[in-house]
Amino acid sequence: MSGQADTRSASPGAEIAPRCRLSARINIRLLVLLAPISLLIALFLILPIAIMFNRALTGEDVIAAYVEVLRSPVYTTVFLTTLKISALTTIITLLLGYPVAFALRFGRPRYRAIVLMLIVLPYWLDFIVRSYSWMILLGRKGIVNELLIWIGVIDRPVKLLYSLGSVVTGMVQIMLPMMILTLFAAMLRIDARLMDAASIHGASRWRSFARVFLPLSLPGVYGASLLVFVTALGFYITPALLGGTSETMISQSMLLLASELLDWKTASIAGTLLLFVTSILVLVYNRLFSIDRLWGGS
């Protein structure tokens, strides 16, 4: 530091060596505490992935098998559909969730508790139940169609189910609480005094938001979006119930390959490819958006 006036740092801690020994002892205890969950992860996550890799990367003509999967229009289409549905879900969830999280951040504590309850409430219902309720709502004789006819927007029922729209609607509804809660947690870490500082130095409400709050909330936005996107990639039940054949997602294909066609090798290859693509996406994303490092954050 080339400080001129006041770059005094705190006096260095005197007793460093004993503290190190103490922390080593704590680390051993921590390892013991971590053992059960580590074992669980090793047995039920790492081992299956290893088996999948083993299936996908051994045997004769490995490369030929991959080329075949990648060449097959079925799988590339399913892959692209999966990415498209996940991206759409993420964007819509973000647009719907951000204002709610913002309102929660600056709302009165009394309303905050109620709204948080309402957001978490759907979590107590299973995915399948929620997906089925969309079938009732969006069906040919569902509430939405009846309502639209009653208002006079349409004069006969339109097809709402088994489309991209119904799949994304169902997935957005399921992912929204996760998006809101993650954003809200990130927004809570933003000092409210910064908004005061912006407004007293001449920024209108909108500009305080645009210049100060929004940029500071971006790391939270990136994190929450990534979480929703990656979770959406692996969705199975919702597209199965609410989608048509053109909304088939990769998890459905893999299930079909493994349990109906008993083609474990191709299923493993598809799984490996999904893992690979997801990892690449996360890496690229992290490189692009970890802007908090720019201003010295951890």
């Binding site: 006036a5 005094r8 500082a197 407004s199 007293i200 130095h201 409400r205 010295g296």
Partner: protein, 371 residues
């Protein structure tokens, strides 16, 4: 383009008229009226919960008063939104924008207030940073700076657009003592150079005494006393102000009588003192405290006619340039600041007499639990 450091504008006068603000059933600000002269340095001093910060937030416009009015240069502003009030502010936590460099932090008020000329912005930012001696730090981010440097950036940001009123909310609270003492002098200097009206909130009486032209002592949402530091120090209006501002002897007793110019206080041990009627005039029998500053008290022989109070020495503390002699008077502590050559052969347990000039003492209504 070269200009004087100071623009043509100077400080704004501020008037608080019967200002009230209630939170739930707490009267945070309870009917405050006050005139702050243009260009002055005013400290709001008080313990936490006394209403000083609420008053500051009302001035800033972060909250609106329940009733009453705030006037800048005689124009009412309590309905003007914060961002149009043209104020600068230094926050206790500094509230620097963590995602902006020092330059962008300091340039922020200029840009928000419509300065489009980049050259002008650069010039004004450089000027503000030079004022707080942080030139060359433009490209750093706040978290790369020490607490003292962040404090300076906060000052530069608050002053860069030459606000006519600057609010400071315990700006030195997070700094260590040496740095705090240094910043007090610097802020005082800056105030003299820029000429804006400074309103400074603190709970530190030394800060208030060192820096301000006027001190407003607050208590329970009301003004306990307002005046120059000397006025408040020499003639406090009540026991609270006497106790809060500087060291004071406050010996509790009872009023036994009064005449046209003086009143008498008697203590538990039977001693009696006569004080001028300058403080509060109290009914005979009322609980009262004798007030006299330790530096106004001198030692005397117990049989000396100047002696007003007798006590037994319980502590002698060496302060470098003087001694603090603490004695027990009527079961309570009483201290005197005594020069090194006046201490003589005084030792613990000695009977000693205390003398002072009559007009330096007062009688105040005594509050239970006070010291």
């Amino acid at each position: 383009m070269s200009r004087a450091v100071r623009g043509p504008k100077s400080g704004a006068s501020v008037r608080l008229a019967s200002l009230r603000k209630t939170f739930g059933n707490v009267r945070a600000v309870d009917d405050i009226s006050l005139d702050i002269p243009a260009g002055s340095f005013v400290a709001f001093l008080g313990p936490s919960g006394s209403g000083k910060t609420t008053t500051l937030n009302l001035l800033a416009g972060f909250i609106t008063p329940d009733s009453g009015e705030i006037l800048f240069d005689d124009a009412p502003i309590s309905r003007t939104p914060t961002h149009q009030r043209g104020i600068g502010m230094v926050f206790q936590s500094y509230a620097l924008f963590p995602h902006m460099t020092v330059f962008d932090n300091v340039a922020f008020p200029l840009k928000m207030r419509g300065e489009r000329d980049r050259g002008r912005v650069r010039e004004r930012v450089a000027e503000a940073l030079a004022m707080v001696q942080l030139g060359g730090y433009e490209k750093r981010y706040p978290r790369q700076l020490s607490g003292g440097q962040q404090q300076r950036v906060a000052m530069a940001r608050a002053l860069v657009s030459h606000p006519r009123l600057l609010l400071m909310d315990e700006p030195l609270g997070a700094l260590d003592k040496k740095l705090r003492d240094q910043m007090q002098i610097e802020i005082k200097n800056i105030h003299r150079r820029v000429g804006s009206t400074f309103v400074y909130v603190t709970h530190d009486q030394n800060e208030a005494l060192t820096m301000s032209d006027f001190i407003v002592v607050m208590r329970d949402g009301a003004i306990a006393q307002a005046g120059t530091p000397q006025e408040l120090y020499d003639s406090p209006a009540n026991e609270f102000v006497a106790d809060f501002l500087g060291g004071a002897n406050l010996v509790r007793g009872r009023i036994t009588g009064a005449d046209a110019a003086s009143q008498r206080i008697a203590f538990e041990d039977g001693q009696e003192v006569v004080v001028p009627l300058a403080g509060e005039t109290l009914e005979p029998g009322a609980a009262a405290s004798l007030f006299v500053r330790p530096e106004g008290v001198t030692l005397a022989q117990p049989d000396d006619e100047r002696t007003r109070l007798h006590g037994e020495v319980s502590e002698i503390v060496f302060l470098g340039n003087s001694f603090r002699v603490i004695a027990t008077v009527a079961g309570q502590g009483f201290s005197a600041l005594v020069g090194r050559d006046e201490i003589g052969g005084l030792s613990l347990g000695d009977r000693v007499g205390f003398a002072w000039e009559n007009e330096r003492s007062r009688a105040f209504a005594s509050e239970a639990g006070g010291t």
